[in-house]
């Protein structure tokens, strides 16, 4: 008897698509919806896992925008402490869709947070990205100046973005009650001060996340009409929940909502693709193998498997990992100025050296 499942590929069945496949070799787990060209400008944002994606895309020669590159001379580790080289601009982790929506609204002049500065020990921090200046700034005015520059760079970034890779991280957030501003961290955890009359815990629902993304998409299309989206869901569990559920249950809720929204969006719009990194890392076939001992951090092997799956569909799979970025002006500037100054000094110091020290 014929059934609708007759003739489907092996990937459609759990037994042949999963059970009989090694978890490292789920080659047909992802089939791309559209091509990503080597000339496409890619912007990345999202939760921590998006950092891995950005790095690997760069190494494979894709054009990942860096709208706020670090100054030459700063090593990569220190640069990251100042929020450089993590994403396409220094916005730090963008955990929720609402947070990204508000960032785009703000750089489009459509909103301004009532409270944008948090204080700690006499130093002032951008409440919307408190981790990018580890020592804070000297005044609220300085925070405002830095934020203005940041928003300008984000706006420029969006205006040329062909593909936004966004990793949905959380549904839980802390909001300012007066204007609904979503913050990436709870007030008082890194900086700021928790006042229950001003801030409240918020756990976004499916409908809210979906509406936020639809609004975000519309807004971005008004900035760059042909922008496309690649969505992923972070497999990194919650560090903590402020809800009443156990953190494991809260994690499953959060990831389930985000996965469902991403799935709906990818099914509904030709310009939105979903890449199943979440399934690779957190899915049952992996048996937790790709998590570090803390059951949160993703191992390098896990990232490798995720990106190998991605590059199988988006080409460049055989390219060496150390391929240089294809646009020199986007590359991390070598310390050419130091070399130039050294050369300048070398030219000039001979005579003086001989005069002072030659026998």
């Amino acid at each position: 008897m014929l059934s609708p499942y007759s003739g489907l590929e092996s990937r459609s069945f759990w037994k042949t698509g999963v059970v009989e496949k090694h978890p490292l070799e789920l080659k047909d787990l992802y089939i791309k919806k559209f091509d990503i060209g080597r000339n496409d400008w890619i912007a990345t944002a999202g939760s921590c896992f998006a950092q891995h994606i950005a790095n690997r895309l760069r190494l494979r020669g894709f054009q990942v925008i860096d709208a706020e590159p670090p100054p030459p001379g700063l090593d990569s580790e220190t640069a990251k402490q100042f929020g450089f080289e993590l994403y396409s601009a220094r916005y730090g982790n963008v955990y929720t869709v609402r947070q990204l929506l508000q960032l785009i609204q703000e750089c489009s002049g459509l909103r301004a947070p009532l409270i944008g500065v948090w204080e700690k020990n006499g130093r002032f921090y951008d409440a919307l990205r408190p981790s990018v200046e580890p020592k804070g700034l000297s005044s609220p005015e300085a925070v405002a100046a830095h934020r203005s520059q940041h928003l300008s760079r984000v706006r420029s970034m969006l205006e040329r973005t062909d593909l936004l890779v966004f990793t949905l991280g959380l549904t839980e957030a802390w909001i300012h009650l007066a204007d609904g501003t979503v913050y990436p961290t709870a007030p008082g955890t890194i900086v700021g001060c928790y006042d229950p009359s001003s801030y409240a815990f918020k756990n976004f629902s499916y409908d809210e996340v979906l509406q936020d993304f639809l609004e975000l998409r519309t807004l971005l299309k008004s900035i760059k009409s042909d922008i496309r989206f690649m969505l992923t869901v972070s497999p990194v569990p919650l560090t903590a929940t402020a809800g009443r559920e156990h953190v494991l249950a809260a994690t499953v809720y959060s990831k389930s909502v985000l996965r469902a929204v991403a799935g709906y969006l990818a099914m509904s719009f030709p310009d939105i693709d979903y890449f199943p990194s979440y399934e690779i890392i957190a899915g049952a076939p992996a048996r937790g193998f790709f998590y570090e001992n803390n059951l949160r951090s993703i191992s390098a092997v896990g990232v490798d498997v995720v990106m190998r799956t991605f590059f199988r569909q988006h080409g460049a799979a055989e390219a060496p990992f150390d391929s240089p970025p294809s646009r020199p002006d986007e590359a991390r500037a070598p310390n050419s100025s130091v070399a130039a100054i050294n050369a300048l000094q070398e030219v000039f110091c001979d005579e003086v050296l001989i005069e002072a020290f030659a026998p």
Partner: protein, 262 residues
Amino acid sequence: MTKVCLIGDSHLGALKGGIEENNISEQGFEMTYFSLHTRHFPALRLRGRRIEGEADELRRELAMFSGGRDSIAIDDFDEFVIVGHGIYIGYLVDLYRDYCCDHMPGPARGRYLLSDSCFITTSQHILERSEAIGIGKMIRSITRKPITYVAAPNPGAGLAESEMPEVFPPFYPAVEFGDAEAVALLFREVCAALATAHDARVIAPIEDAAENGLFNRHEFCLLAERDTEGAPLSDRIGAMLHGNSRYGAMLARAVLDRGESP
């Protein structure tokens, strides 16, 4: 008698002149100079408890500029002074070309705004890679004896901006836009950070010799002592970038006069 090992590039000349003209060596110090062209310092190595050149050619050159000594025996000295070799405010001024920070009062002029903390950290990282710090690390790896780093002087006043090569760091714009004092202050903070990081003293350009924050007064640079009329521009710029013995005397006081008996 304190045996002082002075290692440096051409900027050591000013300090040597300042010490000799002020008879510092008669005041309880015995000075031994080791000088090499800056390009050679990365080729120095630590062998046993001596610093020497990697190659015969370099050892010969070290001997030529260092009174016949072709290596530095660390145990022969009580303290070490490392002059120039990349401890230079010009690196901060070059960073200023494309970046500004909160502490600077001048207009941003399209440059990227960094926090003071980031500007200082970046500057420190650049100077950490200098030859001077490399030499200091070699010494520090085998002894806890005092090490003093001496920054190259500020450029001297006296030449026009239009005469400078394109790669010359934007000292003149920093003065023009009112940022020179701020850059000089940031450099002193970087020097303090290096001192802490390397358990050493770091002597920034002498403030009493400065003019407009980032330049040394004409009387403290070699340009003041030379007849540069008709000389090639490179010679004049070279003289502008180097301190003279008057500046060296001020340096000597900073290096050696510590308010205590040597």
